[in-house]
Amino acid sequence: MLNRLFEEQKSALVAIGALVVLAFSTLVVVPETQQAVVMRLGEPQRVINRFRPGDDFGNTGAGLTWRIPIMETMVRIDKRMLTVPMERQQVLSIDQQPLEVDAYARFRIIDPARMVRSAGSSDRVVSALQPIFSSVLRQELGKRTFQSLLTAERGQAMVNIRNNLDKQAREYGAQVIDVRIKSADLPAGTPLDSAFARMTAAKDQEAATIIAEGQKNAQLIRADAQAQSAQIYANSFGKDAQFYDFWRAMQSYDATFSNQKNPGRSTIILSPDSDYLRQFKGR
């Protein structure tokens, strides 16, 4: 049945087929994420969906477009922001301290025609930028002290690196948007070990200080309590020193002789003249 259909409509089918082939080789869809360079005989002819900073999606030129079959070819280039990773590498600060740095740069192809001429593909842009990136980075960070690499001054270094790299990237029709250090670590081996040793020593010292401080505080607390109790006594007993003497003596005799706490008898020899026996005489 298909055969018969084919026989009856042969010419129409062939025409449709040819049309389809023509359409496929002429019409091209450029998605929002790509820019396309139409090349005629190896020369960039025009750019479709080129990146322009302010453009909102939907009006950028993406979508259906055309080219002349056979004569024109099309190179597709990513329009999105791309990454240049940098191999983890060692940087020497100006005070000769090694630092292992891991960074990335983000860029975007802003001139696809130029990029096609100079590099060919975005992958090749990445591999061209990579060595430049690491040398710029090493150079820039090498001008700074180790301490400043760690802290806020790094911001300016990053801006310098970005500008330097951007200058080079323009050759490839690319724009460097941002450079960031993902990590800055001490290299394994001596630098790391000595950092650990330093931390240990600092912590041990801290521990010793804490213990000493604890002892000092405890002593202060005890001394304070003693002073406070002395004051309490003085306030109270000072009201009548003579009576205190008498009262305390009574307590003392009680404690010493009345044998309530420490049994054992004493012999007390009294003179009839003693005050206690005053009434003995019946006077």
Binding site: G58, T60, L64, T83, I181, A184, A218, Q228, F257, S266
Partner: protein, 388 residues
Amino acid sequence: MKIISDAIAGARLAMAGRKSPWGSGPSGGGDGEGTPPQGGSGDSPDSPPAGSSEPPKGPRNPWLPPAGDEGPRRSASIEDILRPPKGGGGPGGGGGGFGFPKLPPRPDGKSWAKPIAIGAVAVWLLWSTTHMLDSKQQGIVTTLGKYSRTVGPGVSMTLPWPIETMMVEEVTSVRNDSIPAGEDEKLMLTSDQNLVDISYLVRWNIKDLKLYKFQLDNPNDTVREVAEAAMRAAVAEVPLKDAMGGSGRQSVENQVRVRMQEILDAYRSGIRILGVEIKKTDAPQKVIEAFQRVTAAQQNAQQEVTSARQWAQQVINQAQGNAAEFDKVYEQYKLAPEVTRRRLYYETMERVLSNNDKVIVESGGVTPYLPLPEVRRAQQQAQPQGGQ
């Protein structure tokens, strides 16, 4: 080349579409690709065969790849369907042939190809034009690669597949990125050149789906990289103590969140950072013992202070007690000084003398003769007492 592959993909899609009415139509047991519209649409083109034959077996199989248990069913190809009229129908055709005798009136297979084709097209149209998005999702519609609109949750329509495509993404749901991913140690340098092992969590979602889809080559990796850069920078600005301690930690979290948002906004990434939480900050493995020694020292010092406080409390309480006692007695004494004094004196003497041996001797007497050491001691003590 891209065009050709698109075309092939299109053809494949069409096949898939054609497969679906059989698969999910009458039986309702749609396979993996069965989106709701697909299942529903399967009914209409299928109804003629479905109504007249045993639904699931016959039509379903011609398009399925051969599988073990499908051997017998597979025979229900178009030829089989066409055979029953010739054989006169009846039991010979088995289950598959039961209902078919109605159809043969049509002259040839053409009449079968048509409903199949129409059904396939209908399903494909429905499948590629109707989209159901749940409340967390948003979809981006592109017309021949060009951004056309963003659609929210609910049912929405687009033009059929090659013309319009929809990319659906969960937008409001929160994504969690744990850094570092494993249990590895992640050492960061603090401003005082110490190292701290930090692991943290970044929570984010999509703020602008369009930007998220079209601006970055790999948004998810970008979030992680930006998080690392921001966290390192923030930690490098605080001393170890703050990085590990409570409030310093919170300000680091805040800083990282703000910084990440700034960077991602500068990238026009369409990503919103919801929060950054530091899960743990530890001392590096190699120095953890020294850190523990500090903790032990702190406890030690704390204990020492506590026991000193205890002692101090005791001493003060005792002083207060003694003073209070004296004050009470002194109050009495003030009322009648001489009487109180004598009373206290006699009471004490009573207690003292009643518990001891007493000897009363004239002052110029024989005392020196007594040799007993106890007596001698007693005598020594008695002297001051007598003097009072």
